[in-house]
């Protein structure tokens, strides 16, 4: 329970810092780079290495590569739907998560399983 709380606080702080950096930068397309900052990874890897060791964290990073490919597809789909179709943001970003899950787990099944 304590570990989950530490992960929650550290993760929240790191994500907020990168999000804040994104808010301060212009133009918007450049600021958007920080929407894909490795915030969750930075918060998680240090804790993981201290508890599980480097090899374990290295395996996580290999899967993270697959997750990043899924992130690229997710962000591309969201961008196209918002710019071309001008659909509402919250439903688009929320429902498009299905793309991330499908791509991430699909690629994991095809490549790493």
């Amino acid at each position: 329970m304590k570990e989950i709380l530490v992960r929650f606080v550290v993760g929240g702080v790191v994500v907020s810092v990168f999000a804040l950096l994104g808010d301060l930068l212009k133009p918007k397309s450049f600021a958007g780079l920080f929407g894909a900052a490795p915030s969750v990874a930075l918060a998680t890897l240090a804790l993981t290495v201290s508890k599980q060791g480097k090899e374990y964290a290295s395996v996580e990073a290999r899967s993270m590569l697959i997750g990043a490919i899924a992130f690229f597809i997710y962000a591309l789909v969201v961008s196209r739907l918002l710019i071309r179709r001008k659909l509402p943001v919250l439903p688009v970003t929320g429902l498009s998560m299905a793309w991330w899950f499908a791509c991430a787990f699909g690629c994991w099944y095809a490549v790493l399983r």
Partner: protein, 153 residues
């Protein structure tokens, strides 16, 4: 606050999933789009409020602005791949802090390079379009590049 809660939740969830299902599944969530949905929603809200104060409807502008931000995130995810690759390859044989700093710098460098490449390509397309227009030729406007330019100023 929303970003803190969402980011913290995803980080905690990544740890729980890794513990339950192993590092191969848990590692996928290290690249979960934790910031993007909240950031896009805030951008839409901010743009809409700016237009509303001027007595105009900012709904469409807000959505397009959020879309431009998401396009930036797509470019940033290429940097995220570089980050993951470096950590995967170098962590077993190197110091943690060195690897994380190096990987973060690689993320930044790769993301900025992709962004610069896109900007250069868009500038060239715009220049060709303007040259074609000034010669009286009818060239189809590149909707993507002009929309990005409006939010790039």
């Amino acid at each position: 606050m929303i970003r803190f809660v969402f980011g913290g939740t995803i980080t905690a969830l990544a740890g729980i999933v890794a513990e339950r299902y192993g590092p191969e599944i848990g590692g996928l969530f290290l690249a979960f789009p934790a910031i993007l949905p909240a950031a896009a929603t805030l951008i839409e809200k901010h743009e809409k409020e700016t237009k509303d104060r001027a007595g105009l409807d900012g709904t469409m502008r807000g959505r397009v602005a959020a879309g431009v931000d998401a396009a930036g995130a797509a470019m940033g995810s290429i940097g995220l791949m570089a980050f993951a690759l470096i950590v995967w390859q170098e962590l077993p044989n190197s110091s943690l802090s060195l690897v994380l700093v190096g990987a973060t710098l690689a993320w930044l460098a790769a993301s900025v390079m992709v962004w610069e490449l896109r900007e250069t390509l868009c500038r060239r397309i715009r220049a060709r379009f303007h040259a074609a227009s000034s010669h009286g030729l009818h060239a189809a406007p590149r909707r993507g590049s002009s929309i990005h330019r409006r939010f790039d100023e």
